[in-house]
């Protein structure tokens, strides 16, 4: 069986299992109630987006070192998929926050960093799009991908300090701490399912990039 089919079937399977865990297995949260179940999708997409951006970082280094097209295709695919998942994070975040905190948005470190990351990787995709020469675009994107990723922890830290020094309303600590065992299990299953989904999308996008390059080659040589 080809790899992409196995990947696809595994994704379907793990997604189904995850749905079962999220809606049936996991208990409703004591104070937030049913709405808290969005948390499993929210955190899982956030994890996936970070994974994607980390892959962009690693493949950018590999591309600059080796100048092999493969690395460029993977970083492009990971960046696009990462932006998709980060969009999902930014949609589920406010949806969850409104009923619970009675506000769509709070400028806390995690949320703000997510927004900044989303912006940064959209710019990453723009650099590729707006550079005429494909190889040059790949080099530029790789350089940008490295700089962008290295500043992620610094952004996170500085925003956190910025908030803590200006005491913000306490919004309640959701992650870690007082979570029930069943919730943790559900979260892990959900993260696994989203990772599978991500790998699946990454692989599909990579194939598209390959086909695009072939098409480009054929067109150019047909003239």
């Amino acid at each position: 069986m080809p790899v992409h089919l196995i990947l696809f079937l595994l994704t379907c399977l793990s997604m189904t299992v995850a749905l079962f865990f999220v809606f049936i297995f996991a208990p409703a949260e004591a104070t937030m109630g049913e709405i808290q179940r969005i948390f499993y999708f929210h955190v899982a997409s956030a994890w996936t987006a970070f994974l994607a951006f980390f892959i962009v970082f690693c493949c950018s280094i590999a591309y600059l070192a080796k100048k092999r097209r493969f690395w460029d295709f993977i970083s492009l695919s990971a960046a696009e998929t990462g932006v998709l998942f980060m969009t999902f994070v930014l949609i589920t975040g406010p949806l969850w926050a409104k009923p619970v905190w009675n506000t769509y948005w709070s400028w806390d470190a995690r949320l703000t960093t997510s927004l900044i990351l989303w912006l940064i990787y959209i710019v990453y995709l723009m650099i590729r799009k707006y550079t005429e020469d494909r190889q040059q675009g790949a080099r530029f994107a790789a350089v940008f991908g490295i700089v962008a990723f290295i500043q992620v922890p610094i952004v996170y830290m500085s925003i956190r300090w910025w908030r803590t020094l200006h005491p913000a309303p306490v919004l309640g600590n959701v992650e870690g701490g007082g979570m029930e065992t069943n919730m943790i299990i559900t979260l892990l299953v959900s993260v696994l399912a989203f990772t599978m989904l991500f790998l699946n999308l990454l692989f599909m996008r990579y194939r598209i990039a390959q086909v695009e390059a072939q098409l480009f080659y054929l067109r150019e040589n047909a003239e």
Binding site: L119, T131, R139, F140, A148, Q151, W162
Partner: protein
Amino acid sequence: MADIRHIIHLVSKDLLIELRSKEILLSMIIFSLTIILIFNFTYDIGIQAVQRHTPGLLWVAFIFAGTLGLNRSFMREYENGRMEGLLLCPVSRGSIYIAKLVGNVIFMMIIEMVSLPVMVVLLNLDIIKFIPMLFLLLVLGNIGFASVGTLFSAISLHTRSRELMLPIMLFPVTIPVILAAVKSTAFLLNAKPLAEIMPWVRILIGFDLIFTTLCSFLYKYVVED
């Protein structure tokens, strides 16, 4: 050693040209003053409130004007293919980057030295006793902003949208610098103790060190095939 000598000559060449044309500095200064003016209108507030917003206002003006300068400084090299002439020299690419960075920081310092006194008068600020520390913050902030900015301006010049690309690449990535610069300036002007300012100064120094090193290394991948 040879690198340092090359950097000095590269920087003095840029300064000499700017001294003759005054094109970059003049537009940067006017721009930063215009921003102050616009802020004053859009906020339409008394002196009291302006003082509260001063640190943010100062840095917005400096950073926007700085972006203008960043865009121009490499543009000058690319007109008439001069960059090619520069790349033909047996000079390390890192030195070319550092020289441009130093030039950009000097430009930013100059506009700040000119527009600060004007702001002091217009906004009725009281900064005399903070000058040494403020100078330090400006230097650190400028280096952090220009370190990434110099690298990115070399990239943005080759994109289809040119100058448009630089701010959208640069601003999200330099948020830590902007945050730290504004925060530390605010604490300084509000006469907060040094212990509260230092964490932000440390962020600035850390950012400067990391990104100057990283970008001077990455620069060769931007200009070379």
